[in-house]
Amino acid sequence: MMNEMFISTMLLTFKLAFVTTVILLILGTCIAYYLSVSRSHVKPLIETIVSMPLVLPPTVLGFYLLVAFSQENFLGRFLQEYFGFRLTFTFGGLVLGSVIFSLPFMVHPIQNGLAALPKSLLEAATTLGKSKINIFFKILLPNIKPSLLTGVVITFAHTIGEFGVVLMIGGNIPQKTRVASLAIYDQVESLNYHEANKYALTLFVISFCVLLLVYIVNKKYFAKGFK
């Protein structure tokens, strides 16, 4: 029984991290591209919003999400009535919270990667008659692979490690919104140290291996002379 619970919690944790990472890879790449080419006045505003989760306590974000999507509120009621979406105590709510909270971890590496590419690459492709979309997929993205990899892995690992937002929004419901980080807290609360250690060690080992892999791959990539 305990083992089944462990497996389902871990699966839920990885499902959340996976879904969050996939959504953020697309969303984060678009935002990073916009930020790297934009000269607009609203750029600093968008950069600030993207970076806010880095400095805010997760509880602040969780609190405002709860308020915004509350049934007392127009937005919450609207989503509930027309789309059947509820933020609180649902997996969808967890994904939304995680996407917002992990946004800088995806956007920043990709934005830096794009900024570090020589401008002449883009210009050369332009004089060769290539469209912006073609240049984006054929030139820009393939040349920032290390940044994309860094973004994906850090986002994935960060989502696995997220605690505050998922606690506030998800409410720690077994097999529904209880992810590994919450399970550890739960087990420690009930003085079940052996079980807590199972979760903790699993998270520790996975995070360690994932980060090690990124650094090894990136080192190889740079050794090949790509910049």
């Binding site: 020589p118 002449s120 690459l121 210009e123 050369a124 492709a125 332009t126 004089t127 060769l128 008659g129 290539k130 469209s131 054929k138 030139i139 393939p142 040349n143 090949k224 002379g225 790509f226 910049k227």
Partner: protein, 290 residues
């Protein structure tokens, strides 16, 4: 015929200034934009390619309007069909030499054309290499081949050889001449190397502080005086020392430091650091092949 008549404000280290140029370039010409760094040569090249937009004026190429500020026409860089060779080569690091060229190939052109161009610039052996596996000269040849492969009407070269050593320069200058003869496209070279311009170009536009200083064949521009037996160099005065009745001057001319003698009258008004003209005419120079 290319007709460029544009104004563009430039923001330089030396302050604000207008790039104001009106030139005509004959079809098939090999022309140089010559001048000091920051004179506006590269900007002019970028305006012609569409990478930058002029504030006012017009650009006409072969009777077609590429840019006209009063009728708000601006043909985008993608559609101008110019070949641009960048100072930093701008090779795509994720592609091999051949892939770089294939990417540039226009739709409908056969892939064997890429092989032909690689043969001309001598890249056939290197076609599976990535840019980071190439030397500076090889990279330059790839950049050149890539610009040529899309059959541009105009080839624009932004100081393409400045990063290379003298020997490689000379070799690639020959290559440029060969390519110009073979494909016959109008070629514009940005350069501040007089030797290079003499070797390659039929015409020169000398740009200084955003304006055209003079324009003509390299001979007209760089031989200010009628050719005579006199040799004339510009140098910098490094040192004056007195030795009994005469003075010894140390001068920096070209890449050499030379010593020469002068009388007391001749050094009047000369200071260390002055730019000076050195003229020798009393003897026949000896020229030896190196």
């Amino acid at each position: 015929m290319i007709h460029i008549d544009i104004v563009k404000p430039l923001n330089l280290a030396s302050g604000l200034m207008d790039l104001e140029v009106n030139i005509k370039i004959k079809d098939g010409a090999f022309i140089a934009f010559y001048g000091q760094s920051g004179a506006g040569k590269t900007t002019l090249l970028r305006i012609l390619s569409g990478l930058e937009i002029a504030k006012k004026g017009k650009i006409e190429v072969g009777g077609e309007v590429w840019f006209n500020s009063s009728t708000k026409i601006n043909k985008p860089a993608q559609k101008r069909g110019v070949g641009f060779v960048f100072q930093d080569f701008a090779l795509f690091p994720n592609m091999t030499v051949k892939e770089n060229l294939l990417y540039a190939l226009k739709k409908g052109d056969t892939k064997t054309y890429v092989d032909e161009v690689m043969e001309v610039v001598g890249l056939s052996e290197l076609h599976t290499r990535y840019p980071h596996q190439l030397s500076g000269g090889q990279k330059q040849r790839v950049a050149l081949a890539r610009a040529v492969v899309c059959k541009p009407k105009i080839l624009l070269l932004d100081e393409p050889l400045s990063a290379l050593d003298a020997q490689m320069r000379s070799k690639l200058q020959d290559k440029l001449l060969e390519i110009h003869k073979l494909f016959g496209m109008t070629t514009v070279l940005v350069s501040h190397d007089v030797g290079e311009i003499f070797k390659l170009c039929s015409d020169v536009v000398w740009i200084e502080n955003g304006h055209i200083k003079s324009q003509g064949t390299p001979k007209q521009i760089f031989f200010k005086h009628k050719t005579s037996a006199a040799f004339e160099f510009i140098g910098e005065l490094l040192e004056i020392t007195q030795n009994e009745m005469i003075y010894i001057l140390v001068l920096h001319v070209g890449h050499e430091v030379i010593k020469t003698i002068a009388t007391k009258d001749e050094i009047v008004g000369l200071n260390i650091g002055d730019r000076v003209r050195v003229i020798t005419k009393s003897f026949h120079p000896i020229i030896e092949k190196l």
